[in-house]
């Protein structure tokens, strides 16, 4: 929350491909904002991170005022940046001030990069059950600009700002909406306001107990109730994300909507075991189940079946079906015969019969055959997109890789070369299914997802027919564009 992290220069021999790469060292990251094709997040103490692709992050964002836990929101063609001027930690003072300021750009090298004079929008006294730090913004569905702030020291409060000036609305009185949490974020979706809040204790390295919970309300002023109807003013909250196997202290939620059905959440983990225990930026898919947000998972390296949502068929190589050997039909087995364990079909049983060059793909019901088994692995140093690395998708046990081909076709190539057409962007969608999208389609301009930096239309893996895959426009409302990835 209030510790100022000095981003060090790190050289690491090995990083799991699943972590944000570059130097994503930050504490209390602001909601990710996009500006002129790049992504930005600001942290406690001043400064922040910039990423060209959303996966590789480096220091370089500029924010004056130091202080704690900023937030940023784009309103019209300007960015409103909020931060708190103070913050004293556990035993320190709790007099806080929330300030806002505008900038036309977040790019510190842009000619018109200049912050306006900060305006105070909230203040708490030392002797008060609130600590005016940890600001967050929401531009509501009706264009009203809300701001929450506060820490475990008393109440979380809601105020309303003027979206034109960034100043507090005249006469606006704060409303208490939660207790015993901090680093809140207010979001709106489908008729509900959601208050995301960080529970637990920060700044204790691998013993940080930070975790993110949520409550929701039909009214922006609350009451924010959890899934069993408990008010956040009485400690209610439903878990969104807690510690991971090697990451501790999940805090400071931020939501980024890429497009309909594709949402990301940003947060920090206060201690990354793979990076000396530094506090790091993390971006996860944001899922919605029964009206509640959940953290999705990045696709982990592993062996998967890739199943269409259209019919449930498995993506497979277009090769001859080979009957599996061993055993006999069940009606020929006599009662009382000793039981035997039969082997399934193995790669070696069939691979020699496959063509050596490119092989097309198709779909069929899953029969656990080698031509239906895929290995998905993140590709080091291949860059990525907002919240994920590029993956290769190969037939398990081989180098045969799925690739986009000219004419917006699909095929497999005998060996993975690292070419852009063999690299795949995989986004977990808000309903938990996946969108699979090539980095490049030969003969077409570089692919950019809608809502990404660039805003181009993108083609993704689709079911053209039950048995026929292809590349087509993404449409969240169609199961033709969605896939399930199941470990096997």
């Amino acid at each position: 929350m209030k510790k100022i992290l000095l981003a060090g220069f790190l050289t690491l021999a090995f990083l799991p491909a699943i972590a944000q790469v570059g130097a994503p060292y930050i504490h209390d990251p602001s909601t990710i904002a996009e500006c002129d094709g790049k992504y930005y997040t600001f942290g406690t103490g001043g400064g922040g991170l910039i990423s060209a692709d959303g996966w590789v992050w480096e220091n370089g964002a500029v924010r004056p005022g130091r202080g704690a836990a900023p937030d940023v929101i784009k309103i019209g063609d300007r960015y409103l940046v909020g931060y708190s001027s103070t913050g004293g930690g556990f035993n320190g003072p709790h007099a806080g001030t929330i300030l806002t300021m505008w900038n036309k750009t977040l790019d510190p090298n842009a000619p018109d990069f200049a912050y306006s004079e900060p305006v105070e929008v909230a203040r708490t006294l030392e002797d008060e059950d609130c600590d005016a730090i940890d600001v967050s913004f929401l531009l509501g569905p009706d264009g009203r600009l809300f701001c929450t702030y506060g820490t475990y020291f008393g109440f979380i409060r809601l105020i309303e700002l003027d979206p034109v000036t960034g100043a507090r609305l005249t006469g606006n009185q704060p409303v208490d909406i939660a207790i015993d949490c901090e680093a809140t974020a207010l979001i709106y979706r489908d008729g509900w306001y959601y208050l995301l809040a960080t529970h637990g204790t920060c700044c204790d390295g691998v013993n940080s107990t930070y975790n993110i919970v949520v409550g929701r309300s039909r009214n922006v002023t609350g009451p924010y109730l959890d899934n069993i109807g408990r008010d956040m003013l009485r400690g209610g909250g439903k878990m969104v994300i807690a510690a991971q196997e090697r990451l501790f202290g999940a805090g400071h939620f931020g939501r980024f909507v890429v497009e309909e059905g594709v949402e990301k959440m940003s947060l920090h983990f206060e201690a990354d075991l793979d990076r000396s225990g530094f506090s790091v930026l993390a971006i996860r898919p944001l899922l919605w189940r029964d009206g509640w947000p959940e953290a999705g998972e990045l696709v982990a390296d592993g062996n998967y079946k890739i199943l269409s949502r259209r019919r449930g068929y498995s993506l497979e190589l277009a090769v001859d079906f080979v009957r599996a050997q061993g055993g006999k039909p069940f009606w020929q087995i006599k009662q009382g015969e000793p039981l035997m364990v039969l082997e399934g079909q193995k790669l070696a049983d069939v691979a020699d019969g496959w063509p050596k060059g490119t092989i097309p793909v198709r779909m069929a019901d899953y029969m656990a055959r080698p031509h239906q088994k895929w290995t998905i692995e993140a590709v080091p140093d291949a860059g990525g997109y907002l919240g994920g690395p590029y993956y290769k998708i190969v037939i398990e046990g081989t180098g045969r890789a799925l690739a986009a081909a000219e004419g917006a076709r699909l095929e497999t190539v005998p060996a993975f070369t690292g070419a852009s057409r063999e690299l795949w962007r995989i986004d977990q969608l808000t309903d938990g299914t996946y969108r699979i999208m090539p980095k490049e389609i030969p003969g077409q301009p570089p692919v950019k997802a809608k809502g990404d930096a660039g805003n181009d239309e993108a083609l993704c893996l689709v079911s053209v027919a039950d048995s026929t895959p292809g590349l087509g426009r993404f449409d969240f409302s169609s199961d033709n564009c969605k896939w399930d990835l199941k470990l096997h």
């Binding site: 006294l125 002797d127 059950d129 475990y152 020291f153 009185q173 107990t209 408990r230």
Partner: protein, 653 residues
């Protein structure tokens, strides 16, 4: 409360708050407990108020009847700021009385030769009905010592003593009609046979005689059921024992159907006052009453003008104190009304709601002194932006109050060229449903009255006399809290189950986990005391208990205890707890909940195994330990369906 106040720092803060609130003197005049049957006497230049002390029965709370176990006495020099001198006599200390009779009804007190004779009815140890006894002290506030025997030959209630100008002392009471007799100066025995006083008076139930002498005439005043409930009526005579001639009604029956009324009249600093009672703080149960005062005016012929009961009461309210406008002199029209701030906590008082433009409230006799006010602070709540016009005689001004869904204090600049004594009137000009708790012309408004204040009274107040009940969600809000024990911890990860059992298993004070709880104010050891509180919130804010005691407020171990009284066994309940940080809980000496680790306040964070709350007393103990956090806790019982249990009372005894 007064003994506590002298001793510890935060009670000084509390006392300062109460003192400032106390200056604002309206009806009822005693605002932290029930009081009834007031007899006001002037001793040594002060008014002393001897009253019955209504409580909810601690033994049979469901039995809706009169219940009185002791007497307090209160004194004042201005009829506004009352000092509670505490209990002067309780039922266990009357040698001839039933120690559990709960029948300490309407009293009186007179002074003779430096001795104070306190006269009271009570249920005798043997026999039925009521006898009348006497207790004697050297000062009005006591200590009083009760005579061994009641006054012989009297069966009745509502004693009243008259020290007449003829040099005789007379005693009056009710029992088989209104009775009177000459009595010895020390009230040990009657000196004449009792005389019936009411034989010439109109028919109807009568009780509570109060007799006084004024300009050579004797007034017999008494509660009288003319219609449905008690009026106050009076009759006059040239002789102390009558015959009395009926003169009329002094106060009409209550429109709210509080069945009883009981009163006294007193002359103080040249003015006459009527002390009486009404069930202001207990609208649903008229046996829990509260004392009020209004002014009395005599006609030249000695008859009395009927007294209209008011909320405003008597006295002048300083402009720079909290002006409780809900205790109004008049309301503009039907679109203005009052409500309790918190129905669960009637002693918190009321607010006035101006529901539509045009609605107004008037509060008379506000004293500005010689300086015009510069600010006006409103404590209010309104779902819409409102605007009010404030008028003070010739002066006046408009004030804007932005919408606020929670109670807020807003201090606004006010240029009102007004001084001296004024009647304050507030009219809603724009908006709707403006709820006003109080206003003040104090220029230190933002500091003293700010909602940002973390004074203890925002979180908890000294426990009331009557047994408490769980709130509507079942939270137990009455607790004995021990001042915190210093136990610094850098992190709450340290609070493992093993560590907590070891830490809380140590002996910190005698009687730890005992079935007998310490008294409010008792010392647990050389440095730490116990305090009984009623939390204003569902959770008990231990952090604010600590921060009001000392700057050093983190890293504390807190002990707490309370008693849950059940009329019958309540089986299959669970103790559900939340705490910041770790805590441990015991019911009737048995550990039932242990909450380890880095906890935040979460309602129903942990629950015990099923247990039975037994008929009678159940003693709950708890301990909360915290490193860096804002310590608090909440406790309730849940039934087998997970619903809160609420049918029990809570005491700390």
């Amino acid at each position: 409360m007064s003994a506590l106040m002298k001793k510890s720092i935060f009670f000084i803060l509390l006392a300062a708050f109460l003192a400032s609130a106390g200056l604002s003197a309206q009806n009822p005049v005693i605002r932290d407990q029930y009081t009834a049957d007031p007899t006001a006497r002037v001793f040594g230049g002060k008014v002393w108020l001897f009253a019955s002390h209504d409580i909810i029965s601690p033994v049979a709370p469901e039995r809706k009847w009169f219940c009185m176990a002791d007497y307090h006495v209160f004194s004042s020099e201005d009829l506004m700021d009352w000092t509670d001198h505490g209990v002067i006599l309780s039922q266990e200390n009357v040698p001839w009385g039933k120690p559990d009779g709960y029948s300490m009804w309407a009293p009186d007190c007179v002074e003779k030769d430096g001795k104070y004779y306190f006269v009271f009815p009570n249920a005798p140890r043997e026999g039925r009905g009521f006898a009348i006894g006497v207790a004697v002290a050297d000062a009005p506030e006591g200590p009083y010592r009760a005579y061994e025997k009641p006054i012989p030959g009297i069966w009745g209630i509502d004693p009243c003593v008259l020290q007449a100008s003829d040099g005789n002392t007379y005693l009056y009471w009710s029992g088989m009609g209104l009775q009177g007799a000459r009595v010895k100066e020390d009230l040990t025995a009657l000196e004449s046979a009792p005389v019936r006083l009411d034989e010439n008076l109109p028919q109807g139930f009568k009780e509570g005689p109060f007799i006084f002498e004024r300009e050579g005439r004797f007034y017999l005043t008494y509660p009288w059921v003319q219609d449905k409930t008690e009026t106050l009526a009076y009759a006059m005579s040239d002789n102390p024992l009558g015959p009395f001639e009926f003169k009329g009604i002094l106060m009409a029956q209550s429109p709210n159907e509080c069945w009883t009324n009981h009163h006294s009249l007193v002359q103080y600093k040249g003015e006459w006052y009527l002390f009486y009672h009404h069930n202001d703080y207990s609208p649903a149960f008229d046996k829990n009453r509260s004392v009020r005062i209004d002014k009395v005016v005599f006609n030249p012929d000695g008859t009395i003008l009927p007294v209209t009961p008011t909320f405003r009461g008597v006295g002048i309210t300083p402009a720079r104190s909290l002006i409780q406008v809900d205790r109004y002199s008049a309301l503009g029209h039907l679109d203005a009304y009052i409500e309790f701030l918190d129905e669960q906590r009637p002693f918190d008082g009321w607010y006035v709601c101006l529901s539509r433009p045009g609605a107004w409230v008037r509060y008379d006799r506000v004293d500005f002194g010689e300086e015009a006010p510069e600010t006006l602070t409103f404590r209010y709540r309104a779902s819409r932006d409102c605007s009010v016009y404030v008028s003070l005689g010739e002066a006046g001004g408009l004030f804007d109050l932005p919408a606020s869904t929670s109670w807020k204090s807003v201090c606004l600049p006010a240029s009102l060229s007004t001084t001296g004594l004024q009647d304050l009137r507030i009219t809603l000009e724009e908006g709707a449903d403006l709820q006003l708790d109080w206003v003040s012309f104090g220029d230190d408004g933002p500091v003293v009255f700010s909602d940002s204040s973390t004074a203890l009274e925002k979180y908890m107040v000294p426990a009331g006399d009557s047994p408490a009940r769980p709130d509507e969600d079942g939270f137990v809000r009455r607790w004995l809290l021990l001042e915190p024990i210093s136990k610094p911890h850098r992190t709450n990860n340290d609070f493992t189950e093993t560590y907590l059992r070891e830490l809380m298993g140590q002996n910190y004070f005698p009687g730890q986990l005992s079935d007998v709880l310490p008294k409010d104010g008792a010392r647990a050891n050389k440095t730490l005391r116990w305090h009984a509180f009623d939390s204003k919130l569902f959770n008990v804010k231990l952090f604010r208990f600590a921060s009001n005691l000392s700057e050093d407020r983190y890293g504390k171990l807190y002990w707490m205890a309370t008693v849950v009284n059940c009329e019958t066994d309540i089986p299959d309940v669970r103790l559900a707890t939340g705490s910041n940080g770790a805590s441990m809980w015991w019911v009737n000496g048995k550990e039932v909940v242990l909450m380890d680790g880095d906890r935040r306040m979460v309602v129903d964070d942990c629950a015990s195994e099923r247990l039975t709350l037994k008929k009678g007393r159940n003693v709950i103990w708890g301990a909360v330990i915290n490193g860096p956090g804002l310590s608090d806790f909440c406790v309730r019982f849940l039934d087998a369906e997970g619903k809160p249990v609420t049918h029990y009372t809570i005491t700390t005894k």
